[in-house]
């Protein structure tokens, strides 16, 4: 039984780390502010609870376990809100999403670049 818990914990930690790296790559490589907020927000919001669940499986039933669970709930509540507010603030400030690829043929001249 404990071997199963260990394997599950390791799998969750691995999945969380992969998501973190994916989010980081997206943050660096995507062309537009809104795409980057989307990438970072989604991946981090899933990666953090996965990592925390993986850690929780390694802990005994104690007050610390409850504290880690509360941290997870806090991240689930605040990370999407922060991404939403960032996108809203950018829209308020005048940023507009990139709707066409800048490398397209010149006939697409209705592009609104960020």
């Amino acid at each position: 039984m404990s071997l199963l818990v260990e394997l599950l914990s390791g799998a969750l930690l691995l999945a969380g780390s992969v998501l973190c790296i994916t989010g980081g790559v997206g943050l660096l490589r995507l062309p537009d502010f809104f795409a980057r907020v989307h990438a970072a927000g989604l991946t981090e919001t899933l990666a953090a609870p996965l990592l925390l669940c993986g850690l929780m499986l390694q802990m005994d039933w104690s007050l610390d376990l409850l504290k880690v669970a509360m941290i997870m709930l806090f991240i689930l509540a605040t990370n999407p809100t922060a991404s939403h507010s960032m996108a809203g603030a950018a829209l308020h400030g005048g940023q507009r999403p990139l709707v066409t690829d800048p490398d397209d043929e010149p006939q697409e001249d209705k592009s609104s670049t960020a």
């Binding site: 509540a77 605040t78 809100t81 939403h84 507010s85 809203g88 603030a89 308020h92």
Partner: protein
């Protein structure tokens, strides 16, 4: 590496964000060195409040740094020579954390061994901070109070509670409003927990005061400064800051009336350990009140100002 980036970048917004990341990494470094209280304070103050305050300052100073007027060669030489002299001076110092070092032989064994017995708090850091070195902590609290005084003297808090409530641009975001409304009571509750639990776990007055102020700063950011100033009027903050320092110094003066030394908490109750408990709790309360009111006062002073063009 982050520090090099901070020096080279001209865009101050990015610099402020990098400072936040730098503080966060330092907090992680402190955690790695097993200094939990220090890491907590560094994370709360450096990665939390200072970022918000510096962003507020950016509205006053403008977003990019001017080109420096002089070349970097002479300052570089001066810094290199001074740095080399300092490094040469540290070559004789004992290794970090060496148990045989003179600094760790003098009073540290007494603090470590007698702390939980004499002061009665399991958290050794609180015992040293509030009781053994209480005089230094009184100095720190007065420094925070003086810093707040300086900001208030230089900037002042605008009295605009009579003005119509200005529309914060964040008010339109329903998601943000709902989430923040449910988070603020939790933040304040957590701050109270950190304040009173500082004897047993990581925590204490400084962290608690900062977190408590953060709750109100969050309210001011989302719902507008006018509403926030109606909730906590700036005059209260002036009085609260002074009250905090007064509580601390008062706890120090009280033992003088029974013939004991300044800040000797054992004289506060018939049982010396109970007296220490009471003294530590009151002193941390004073620190928390002062830190909260000064941080919020500085935020109010910077809030809502635009750059005078």
């Amino acid at each position: 590496m982050i520090a090099v980036a901070v020096i080279r970048l001209r865009d101050l917004f990015a610099v402020v964000m990098l400072f936040g990341i730098y503080s966060f990494m330092t907090a992680a470094l402190f955690m790695d060195l097993d200094a939990v209280d220090v890491a907590f304070t560094e994370a709360a103050v450096g990665a939390g409040v200072t970022t918000v305050l510096m962003l507020s300052v950016l509205r006053l100073t403008g977003r990019s740094e001017r080109r420096p007027a002089h070349g970097p060669l002479l300052p570089l030489i001066v810094v290199a020579v001074t740095g080399a002299a300092l490094v040469y001076g540290t070559l004789d110092a004992p290794l970090l954390g060496d148990p045989g070092a003179p600094a760790n032989q003098h009073v540290a064994p007494r603090y470590i061994e007698q702390g939980p017995i004499e002061v009665g708090t399991p958290n050794m850091v609180t015992a040293v901070l509030a009781s053994y070195r209480g005089y230094d902590t009184l100095g720190e609290t007065v420094v925070i109070f003086t810093a707040g005084l300086a900001v208030l003297l230089l900037l002042g808090i605008r009295d605009d509670t009579d003005a119509l409530p200005e529309q914060s641009p964040l008010l339109g975001q329903l998601v943000l409003r709902v989430v923040v409304k449910s988070l603020i009571p939790l933040i304040l509750l957590y701050a109270l927990y950190v304040q009173f639990h500082g004897d047993y776990g990581a925590g204490g007055g400084f962290q608690a005061g900062v977190i408590f102020a953060t709750g109100f700063i969050l309210y001011a950011l989302v719902f507008g400064h006018a509403d926030a100033k109606r909730v906590v009027p700036p005059r209260w903050l002036h009085r609260l800051a002074a009250t905090g320092v007064l509580i601390y110094a008062g706890v120090g003066v009280a033992p003088l009336f029974s013939g004991q030394a300044f800040l000797d908490y054992s004289a506060l109750a018939t049982d010396p350990v109970q007296g220490q408990h009471l003294g530590v709790m009151l002193v941390e309360l004073g620190v928390g009140i002062t830190v909260f009111s000064i941080v919020l006062a500085i935020f109010y002073a910077l809030a809502g100002r635009r750059r005078q063009m």
